[in-house]
């Protein structure tokens, strides 16, 4: 279970790791929008080149990024099949009995797969270089304007922070219980339906019990240290914008503008 790559922070020392989380989130949003602009293969080529350069700069290994894409492979295959059967425009490329393949179908599929891959590259770049805690600080700050509308931004950020904080703990816990039950002869892979249900129950019940217990203990510990819901809080870690942060935001927005320009030129 330790092999969950999607959304995992990789502690390294690089330009991207040192950036302000707010800058990274803003840049990510700009690039995600850019990914969804139909700028043609030239546009995607440019985006991919920029993202690959960024991944190199962040000192991340490509195998890591590719591993993050693995969960999406099934979806990509599924989309390919659907597209090939549904889209019937453009030039006929191939016929085999009732199966006909048109070039538009392939083009559309290629677009979708490229978009998904670019999206995963972008989000992985953000999550792999940003500590979960910094991320929540960034989200909290970015949500600040909504506070005037009555959105409890601090509480939301605290909840996200706590949830993120407990993911590794709960994974460890699940692994421990899994092993303990495996020692008692539970087979989580084979067996009849009844045995499978009993196997899953032997994991879920203890997880529930310990989650509630943890939540209780955590609430007590927070209150013991003076946490009051909705109270005004100061922050130890102050986020500061540096030159790199401006460069990243401006760069991402220039990229977005370029995509819009390419898409616009493509239509006329």
């Amino acid at each position: 279970m330790k092999n969950v790559t999607l959304g995992q922070y990789i502690p390294l020392d690089s330009f991207f790791h040192k950036l302000d989380p707010r800058a990274k989130i803003c840049a990510m949003i700009a690039i995600l929008i850019a990914v969804f602009i139909p700028a043609g293969f030239v546009g995607y080529g440019i985006l991919a080149a920029v993202l690959i350069a960024c991944i190199l700069r962040a000192k991340l290994q490509f195998s890591f990024v590719i591993k993050a894409m693995k969960p999406m492979v099934m979806m990509m295959i599924f989309l390919t099949i659907i597209n090939v059967f549904v889209i019937k425009t453009g030039n006929l490329l191939y016929t085999l009995g009732p199966v006909t393949i048109y070039d538009d179908a392939l083009k559309q599929t290629a677009y979708i797969i490229i978009r998904l891959a670019l999206m995963i590259m972008t989000t992985t770049l953000l999550t792999a270089t940003t500590k979960p805690m910094d991320m929540t600080l960034g989200i909290e700050d970015l949500l600040k304007p909504f506070e005037k509308l009555g959105v409890p931004t601090h509480d939301i950020a605290m909840m996200i922070a706590l949830a993120l904080r407990f993911i590794p703990t709960l994974i460890d816990e699940a692994e421990r219980i899994l092993k303990a039950q495996a020692s008692r002869g539970v087979d989580f892979e084979n067996g009849s339906l009844k045995e499978k249900i009993s196997a899953i129950m032997s994991l879920i019940v203890p997880m529930f019990v310990s989650c509630f217990q943890r939540a209780d203990d955590l609430a007590d510990a927070m209150e013991a240290r003076g946490y009051v819901v909705g109270a005004k809080r100061v922050r130890y870690k102050q986020l500061k914008f540096g030159r790199g942060d401006y460069i990243v935001i401006i760069g991402a927005n220039l990229l977005l503008a370029l995509m819009i320009f390419l898409a616009y030129r493509g239509t006329i």
């Binding site: 092993k179 303990a180 008692r184 032997s202 203890p206 310990s210």
Partner: protein, 284 residues
């Protein structure tokens, strides 16, 4: 039928940025029918080591032999279930594994997984619960109603009910009150001596090691530091100091006596015989 580790390495998350080598070149042969303590500082690889005994972890290099089974690095091990039936592993804070509606049902769970009929399982479960000292009146209660120490006992009964030949316990007394911990160690000693079950116990408590165990295995940073019998182990005071092991009170007392010019035989390892020894010399 031995327990043997040959050149065993184990690495967590190999080939990732999180790779961590927990065991390095472990060569070890553990005696059957004895009670062996596995000690070492936190993070020295004790838990990782014992999880190899029932194939929860597979070595990344080398070979582990347990009873009739051999687990080789890089080879698929297919007899997992048979092995786990014979090697019972009690985890740290084992009380968290309880999940059935009643105490009795939870203890039946293990044997039933290994194909024991329900009737037979209930019979074994009752016996096991009695061995660990759970009162008949608690059998039908929910495990969640019991106290922490009782839960731990139920969890141990759940493993005993599988009738293992080797019982592995990972810090079974952590977090228990001193009396409860003593009782539990007595229980393991009894299981070992009376039922002839090989007991391996991971512990930090040197008093327990001295009082109840026969052999000691010391790990440090994933490597085997030494393996010896209790007497030899506690004779070497300087070594314990160097390895940052806090010796039991009686050993410290003997060391102080020695420094003050009173040499006591290394056979004297409990308060009674020490008191007799001192009183005997005083009378002379």
């Amino acid at each position: 039928m031995p327990i043997r580790f040959e050149k065993v390495d184990f690495e967590y998350s190999p080939e990732t940025p999180f790779a961590f080598k927990a065991l390095t070149d472990i060569n070890l042969e553990l005696a059957m029918d004895k009670m062996t303590a596995i000690i070492g500082a936190t993070g020295s690889g004790k838990t990782t080591l014992v999880q190899h005994l029932n194939a929860l972890l597979l070595p990344t290099a080398g070979q582990v032999t347990v009873l009739d089974w051999q687990i080789k690095a890089g080879q698929k091990f297919t007899k997992v279930k048979d092995l786990r039936h014979r090697v019972g592993l009690v985890f740290q804070f084992a009380e968290y594994q309880l999940f059935e509606e009643t105490v009795l049902k939870d203890v039946c769970f293990g044997p039933q997984n290994f194909g024991v009929s329900e009737e037979e399982a209930v019979k074994i479960a009752r016996e096991s619960l009695k061995i660990v000292g759970i009162a008949e009146s608690d059998f039908e209660k929910s495990p969640l109603e019991l106290s922490g120490g009782q839960k731990r006992r139920v969890a141990i009964a759940g493993i005993l009910a599988m009738k293992p030949q080797i019982l592995v316990l990972d810090e079974p007394t952590a977090g228990l009150d001193p009396q409860g911990a003593e009782n539990m160690m007595e229980l393991f000693r009894k299981i070992n001596k009376e039922n002839g079950i090989t007991v391996l116990i991971v512990t930090h408590n040197m008093e327990h090691v001295l009082q109840y165990c026969d052999e000691v295995v010391v790990l440090e940073k994933g490597q085997l530091l030494m393996q010896t019998d209790i007497k030899t182990f506690f004779e070497n005071y300087e070594y314990m100091e160097k390895a940052n092991i806090n010796p039991p009170a009686i050993i410290r007392f003997k060391e102080l006596l020695r420094k003050n010019g009173l040499e006591i035989s290394s056979d004297v390892l409990d308060i009674d015989s020490l008191a007799k020894e001192i009183a005997g010399r005083y009378r002379k």
